[in-house]
Each structure stands twice: as structure tokens, then as C-alpha cells.
Symmetry: C2
Subunit: 437 residues, 2 copies
């Protein structure tokens, strides 16, 4: 819908007809906000909707909800659209096609996975269903499956709803995208918030009673559960494109050039269904994140209307919060750097978010990864409390610009006691790594 | 003392004797923390002291407090030191000399300026004296003279101590280093916190009764005052160096090369007494800030012990907080950019510190300045509430790296609803300016 909105601003309805097919009921909603809606930090689901179908229509975009595109015919330049209510198909021609099919949540085919009380959390409908379950029934204990971003955010949401929370993660650490030493700190943080953490355990199925889940069976035993949230992440939903012969890349996402054009002329792709270029590893990656989707959509909206815009790729920045803890990463971790062919040098420091004497100064741990020899910054990871995680942005800017740690350590960052120690924690970390490259 | 500590870590007492002369009683204290000590956010003055004279001595640094250096003899390679208690001078020889004489607070020679109740706020002794005045006497109304960083911080401190606060500023806006449109927002913020703001008024003297101040006379009338705080900023204390023939630059600070060497062999300078290179305007500037002093001290400590280190200059980043408002700037403002020979293009946006639906989302205003044609980012200014100002750091990193606004607007910054809207406010501002360069 970002692409549609940008294109509409640049071309009137006389010049360009814009039709959007959506198989669900909603458009332009903040999927990233679902955990906070479930937690009741956001009161009404409508608050997550940036623009409803009717609002888009008022802007001259012909949104057709409950219409699913089930086929793309590149020779005939048309898509096959199924009206889900009428259960009827029709062909819709196009000059330009944007594939923005998003992502599919990982949902293991385990016994009991379809029982009442087992919730995915990808669509607004998922969120509404989970929240209704919480609102309508008294629950005591939730099991969250998956220790990535969405798993952690849902663990927080269940805590905020007053439930006891267990979290099961197959790996030996939560947040597999962090280095193990930083992952261990996340595990400590989760335990400190009262989450019953089960690392290195595989979910084998769900015990069901009267149609409703009552426990999660793992490789280590059984966890009682009134409610289960599957937070196992997502994969690019690229099947429709692949069936039409549009090239899908090694990450599983639709391959595009930097203008977001696919392998087929006049066919564009954007959002969670594509793969993008990782500027540090130089490898294609599929990262489902609203901020990338939004930027990519704008690029398509400009390019289909005769403009020129490119999406420059990503560096893997991510940030999350679980209760009072904040976690962030950017660039490559130590292991990722090695796998990308770098020889990494690392430093990890503990500092304070504010001047040590200023009220509310919180401990913060910063790890940075640099390239041996050049000292080029390759990655950064942060864990701490209020005021910690958004410091990842300045590391992201440095990594984007391929700054050496030595130069970065001298950067002129904002200093005043309510905001930072004399040397910001990110500068202290960069100084330490610069001294050992 | 940063220089001394770094040098001591690199050279044993057998190899290098280190003597530090300090005319006051304290070493290594956080002058930036004085407003928070006065406000009683910091309980004891000792909390501001990073390392006492005795602690330095324990690390092999011969600190001599209440000893003032009153002359530098470059031919004889010695300094004249006055023992303030004994009132006796002696000559102390040196191989290397570091001039770290700091800054002098601006103190206008106005009638009544020396009355009881008129306080400067530069040294720890100043802070202790002001706090004692507040602790020991009931006061109702404070007048703060000066609307820069220290003036605003002291206005907050006086509010926190429960006083009515008036602030007098000669310019038509507070925070003269901000563009007028952003300065007007700061004025609104100050008024919103209940500060009685007097812009465009000059202080002409102080009314004194029984030896104690009772009012401030300005060009527009009289302001009752139980207490006056002079927050007029500081100038480099470069007189001692100048008298010895060491070159002082156009900004009034001691001129150094990038290794912090002065015009005289074996004589170094660092901290508030020096001028430094502004990387965007390419002009020498004197900016008194602990974070620069600390970095410069380290550079000297390395260079005097046979290492090699440089201080790369500054870009004018500054940040402050007054009650619930946060204010920050980096690079050049619109007028500063024009005066430096750039043709500036500007954009100002209002956005939100978090996803609009997330609790605690605060309004934030971001202004960016870019160069016409190239789109190179030249400056950024921010005002908002909690979570606003530290965003200046990512702008600082971008300006340092001479990023074009277009590229910056696509940067991969941390996005999650508790931390940012889908596009961070700084990205929205960069996008807007990129569209008009």
C-alpha cells in the first residue's frame, strides 16, 4: 500500500488506475504492533490500522478486500483473482504488477497444533483471535514457542496480561541472531523478568483436552499451558511468484534488483516476500521488517510512475524490548562475520546509559565486532534497560559508512549527564576494539 | 587528568614523573553535573568526583592542589607555581608541558554582581556555594541570566528546588546556537514548564539590600530575585599560554595541531582552553565540553609517551534537557551553514518518538539542513520530550561521514513500536530535505 499511495500522489486516476487485492479484511496495519494490542497496551485493533480500505479508496486506490490472487500469467499480463466470498475467479489485466504477498508464519505440523488455544500471531486477525481468547477466558499459564523477536515480545505480552509464562526455544540461547555471549545475557534478562525459560528443547506436540490445548510436549517433558503462542518467525511468501516463473533467490525471497524489479519486465516486488542485499556480508537475506517494506514500497511507487529510486539494502539492524530489558543488534555478529569471510576482532564493555551520578543511570552492555587490520566496524549488539537499545542506530550509521572503530571512537556524539556518560557506551566499546585490531 | 592517567598507564614512575598543579581543591570532577547537584538530583558533591587528588596520587600522579601556575618560561623550560596557602612561588621544570587551564565563566562587571546571592556556576566550589545558599535559606524566586545550555539547566535546577524562576536572555530566543524557528520552540517549552521568560532583555545590574541581591535590573524593568544564577557561558582560559608566547587562535582558544601540540615544541594543550577544528564549517571553534576534553586528554597522554594519536575535530553536537523537554543539535544550523559558504536547504518535520499507538509516544520536531545540489547533510536540530534528543547521534554520524540526505533516508535504523515509528523521525526529515535539494 506504500507503493500504491506514492504512485497515486504522482499520477492522477486519469493517468493510472491502481487496484489492490487483499485476501483479508484489513490494509496498512502495523503487524509489529500486534504484541502490544494483545498485551492491552493498545486498546483497540483499529489503532494499529494506518489506513483502512475505505480511506485508501477515498484516495483513489481501488482496494478489493477478501480477494486473493491465486495465479500470475506473465504471457497474458494478467492475474487470476478469487473473490473469497463469492468463491468465483476472474482475470485482471495489468501493465505493472507489484507482488507484495508478505510472509508466512512458520507453523510446524505437530500433533495438536490446530487445537483451540494454540495461536499464531502474524495477521491482525490472529491478534484479534488471541486477544479475544485472553479477554473471554481466564488463563493462568501461557507457553510461548520460539525465542526470537516475536517470541520475546509475546512473552512480554503474556506477562502483561498477568499470566505465568514459559518460553521454549530449540537453540541453546534465545535470540539466535545474537552472539552466544550476548544471548546468554538475554537469557538472564528473561529469567529476571520471571519467564520460565526452556532452552535446547524441541516442541514435539500439543496435549489437547476437549478440543483445547492443555500442555506442550517437549523433548524434555511436558509444560502445562492454558494458551500457546507460536512465535517461530516467518518465511517469505514467494510461492505465487515462483509458480509464475519469477526468480526466487537463495534466501527464499523473491529476487529483485535495486529498483525492486523482479526477473520479469513490469513485475516488481517489495516487503516481506523479497530478499534484499546485506551490505556487510554482501549476501542476499530475507528480513521481514515493516521499515524495509515501507521504504521498498516507496521505491516501487516511484519507479512504476517514471521516477528513479533504489533500495540500497540492509545491514541487519533489529531492536526489541522485553519487560524492562532492551535488546538490539546491527551488522554482523562475531560468527556471522567469520562466515562472511572476515576475521573478526571483538570487544564487549559494560557502561552506563547516563552519567553514573545521574538518577536513572542503567547498566548497558555493548559488544562490537571489527575487521582485523582495517578496524572497520562490522557489527554491534546491545543489551540493557531504558535508554540502551536505540544507541544501535549510531552504530548502524557507522557500519553503513564502513567507519573504522578508531575514527568512530572519536565521534562527536551528544553528551550531557541525563543522556550519556562523558564517553557514550558505544564509543567506549569502539575504543576497546580499536585498541586490539 | 585524562592525559596524566593515560601517560601513567603507559610509563612507570621510573620512566616518567608526572606533576599536576591545580589551584582549587578538587580534581577530575564532572562540571557538567553541577546543575543536578544543585537540584539535589545528586546527593553529595563527592558523587561528581571521578578521581580525588589522593586517588590520583595512589596511581603515581603527583597532584598538588591549591597550587596555581602563574607563569610559563619557555626558554628556561619551567613554570612558576604559586602555593596559594603559603603565598610563595617556586619554579618547576618540565620536559613536556600540558596546558589544561579550562575556561573562565563570563561574568559581567555590572553593579551588584558581587552581592550575596549572585552565583556563578562553573567550579565545584561554585556549585557547593549555590547549593549551601539554597539549603540554608528559604528562597522563593530565582532569576537565571543567560538562555544557553547552562542557563536552561540551571532554570530546571531552580524549578526542581521549588523556586519560581525567571530567565533573562539578551537575544530574541533562548539557545542562540539553534535556528530561530527551533529557538521559538524552545521558548514555548520553557514557558510550558512555567519559566517566566524575558527575551531581548539586557541585564543592567543587581539591586542589593543588606549585602544581598533583591532584584535584577534589566533593560525592560526590574525582576525580584532572592537568588541569581549567572549562566552566561564560558571563554577559553588561554591568557597564561598567550603571555608565554603560545599562539592563541581566532576563537580565543589555544591553537593546536591535530596531535594537540601547541605552537611551542613540547607544549601541549587540551580541554576547554583550546580551540578545535569544526569539520563542517572548516573553522576553528572553542566548544567547552567534557567529552571533547576527555578525548583530547587521552590524545596528549599517548603523544607525550611516544605514541601517535590525533583528535579529529568536532561537528558541534550538543544536547540538553530542561524539565520534560529535550533539545539537541549537531553540525551547522541554517544560518551557520550560509555563513560557512554553503547554500542550505532545510526541512522541518513533526513526528513521534514511538509508534503512534504505543504508550508514551511523544511528539518530536526534527529540522535538518542539507547542501543544495549535493544533498549532503550539514546539520540537524531536535526538540521533543523523552526519547527525542539522543536521536541527534545518528545525524551526527551521518554528518561526520558527509552522507547525502537521500542515502541517509534509507538507513537501516532500529525499528520496533516501543522505540520508533516505522520510519524514524530523523529519516522522515532527511527524506523531506532530500526531496527538495
Amino acid at each position: 500500500m506504500s507503493a500504491a499511495a506514492v504512485a497515486r500522489r504522482r499520477r492522477s486516476a486519469d493517468e493510472l488506475e491502481i487496484v489492490a487485492f487483499e485476501r483479508g479484511d484489513h490494509t496498512s496495519y502495523a503487524a509489529c504492533g500486534l504484541p502490544y494490542y494483545v498485551a492491552d497496551l493498545v486498546g483497540a485493533a483499529e489503532r494499529l490500522v494506518a489506513r483502512s480500505p475505505d480511506q485508501h479508496r477515498a484516495h483513489g486506490i481501488d482496494v478489493r478486500t477478501r480477494h486473493e490472487v491465486v495465479g500470475i500469467d506473465l504471457d497474458q499480463r494478467c492475474v487470476t483473482v478469487r473473490d473469497l466470498d463469492a468463491d468465483a475467479d476472474h482475470a485482471e489485466p495489468f501493465d505493472h504488477l507489484l507482488v507484495a504477498t508478505g510472509a508466512t508464519p512458520v507453523r510446524p505440523a505437530l500433533p495438536g497444533v490446530d487445537a483451540d488455544g494454540v495461536h499464531g500471531i502474524q495477521s491482525l486477525a490472529d491478534g484479534m483471535s488471541l486477544r479475544a481468547d485472553l479477554d473471554d477466558h481466564p488463563h493462568e499459564r501461557a507457553v510461548v514457542v520460539g525465542g526470537g523477536y516475536i517470541g520475546l515480545e509475546m512473552a512480554e505480552a503474556m506477562k502483561l496480561r498477568g499470566l505465568d509464562v514459559a518460553l521454549v526455544e530449540m537453540a541453546e540461547q534465545p535470540m539466535a541472531t545474537l552472539d552466544p555471549d550476548m544471548g546468554a545475557l538475554v537469557a538472564d534478562a528473561l529469567r529476571a523478568t520471571g519467564v520460565d525459560l526452556h532452552l535446547g528443547e524441541t516442541v514435539e506436540g500439543f496435549e489437547v483436552e476437549g478440543g483445547r490445548v492443555r500442555a506442550v510436549a517437549t523433548s524434555a517433558g511436558e509444560l502445562a499451558a492454558d494458551l500457546v503462542v507460536l512465535g517461530l518467525g516467518v518465511r517469505p511468501r514467494s510461492g505465487l511468484a515462483a509458480e509464475a516463473g519469477i526468480v526466487v533467490g537463495p534466501s527464499g525471497g523473491i529476487a529483485t534488483d535495486r529498483q525492486m524489479a523482479t526477473s520479469e519486465a513490469g513485475v516488481w516486488a517489495a516487503g516481506d516476500c523479497v530478499e534484499t542485499y546485506h551490505r556487510v556480508s554482501r549476501r542476499p537475506v530475507a528480513i521481514a521488517l515493516g521499515t524495509h517494506a515501507n521504504k521498498q514500497g516507496r521505491v516501487v511507487g516511484l519507479n512504476v510512475t517514471g521516477g528513479y529510486a533504489t533500495f540500497p539494502g540492509v545491514i541487519g539492524t533489529a531492536i526489541t524490548k522485553v519487560c524492562e530489558f532492551e535488546i538490539a543488534r546491527t551488522g554482523l555478529g562475531e560468527g556471522e562475520a567469520r562466515r562472511a569471510g572476515f576475521e573478526p576482532v571483538v570487544a564487549r564493555i559494560e557502561a552506563s546509559t547516563r552519567a553514573h551520578y545521574y538518577p536513572g543511570a542503567n547498566p548497558i552492555t555493548v559488544k562490537v565486532v571489527a575487521e582485523r587490520g582495517t578496524g572497520r566496524l562490522l557489527g554491534g549488539q546491545i543489551i540493557g534497560r531504558e535508554g540502551a537499545a536505540k544507541r544501535v542506530d549510531v552504530l548502524a550509521a557507522a557500519i553503513w559508512n564502513e567507519m573504522p572503530a578508531e575514527e568512530f571512537s572519536q565521534l562527536d556524539l551528544g553528551y550531557a549527564p541525563p543522556f550519556s556518560p562523558v564517553l557514550d557506551p558505544v564509543l567506549i566499546a569502539a575504543r576497546k576494539v580499536a585498541d586490539s585490531v
